[in-house]
Symmetry: C2
Subunit: 189 residues, 2 copies
């Protein structure tokens, strides 16, 4: 940010009165331009096939991480709820008809100023279709997941939480919300 | 937004190529200025006194809703995690030493482009003290809560979830995550 979006004068970084952090402040109209984390919201859609639970992944057709696999997710838009964002991104990226379940993971990624939310979901049918931001969409059982080709640590971690919980659920347990923080040094295993 | 923060030329609202929504786009450098929801993160701090569970509320010293009561909460900052934001806001607004527990409510407020998160917390001591954004900080049992003077519907709702769950917890149940969406027509009861 170099210029004020309200009046076009140059901005400077300074700590405003009664604040504790540097903000971009307009040198003419004194508007303070706050910058805050963005939310990335998506789903973990599953399909049960011949006794096996498969998850739907999308191969990214855009940067960053072009060609890597991800869960359907994207930036939450103004004027929508978290659940609406999750459903919209799943349709846009995977063309998937889902039943949306509960919030499953809340993942802070402070070094990129993001919070990622994933909801559990069940596919209603297998008429999914790669959207413009996906090269390919496919179902993977746990042993089929291309762990080395997962786009983001938050996606790997959510998949790991899921398959771990799934074992407990099969012996009578429940899925539970997972919170996890990711720092810059964190790399997918 | 009237001007481009990168080059100071005027922006116009238009749907960029391969997008479906209107964005502010620079008429000169063509930078797309995305606008996304903000996260408000806080806590529901409790203190058990003579068999009664009390919650810590702050009387707002700032607009909007000056003079109304709220849970300690505020805008999440870049470079921090959700849990760090919750803890920081509780210290800034209420000067309260807390033990932070699990995420308790996730509340979308699409008409103001916000998502509110509240964590359960327990006060470590009662040395709380109103910060610069609070007129007063005090403990309230359920029957003492000034329901008509609560600042925001997300706060009223989180308090209601809590006292309802508390009855279940006392008979062997557990606290659970609550998700709820608020629309413009929603008013506190």
């Amino acid at each position: 940010m170099k210029f004020c979006s309200a009046c076009a004068a140059p901005v400077i970084l300074k700590v405003p009165a009664e604040d504790t952090r540097e903000r971009f402040v307009c040198t003419r109209c004194e508007t303070i331009h706050y910058q805050n984390p963005n939310m990335v919201v998506g789903t973990l859609p599953i399909w049960n096939l011949q006794g096996e639970t498969k998850v739907l992944l999308c191969k990214r057709a855009i940067e960053p991480r072009y060609g890597y696999w991800t869960l359907p997710a994207g930036f939450m838009e103004n004027q929508e709820t978290c659940r609406q964002a999750a459903q919209r991104e799943t349709i846009e990226e995977a063309g998937a008809n889902i039943q949306l379940h509960e919030l499953y993971s809340v993942l802070s990624v402070p070094h990129v100023d993001q919070v990622h939310l994933f909801y559990r979901a069940t596919l209603i049918d297998t008429n999914y279709l790669a959207g413009t931001e996906s090269l390919e969409v496919a179902l993977f059982a746990e042993h089929e997941i291309p762990w080395e080709e997962i786009a983001f640590p938050t996606v790997s971690q959510t998949l790991k939480f899921f398959f771990e919980d799934l074992k407990n659920v099969r012996s009578g347990g429940h899925f539970q919300l997972h919170e996890h923080d990711f720092y810059k040094s964190h790399r997918p295993d």
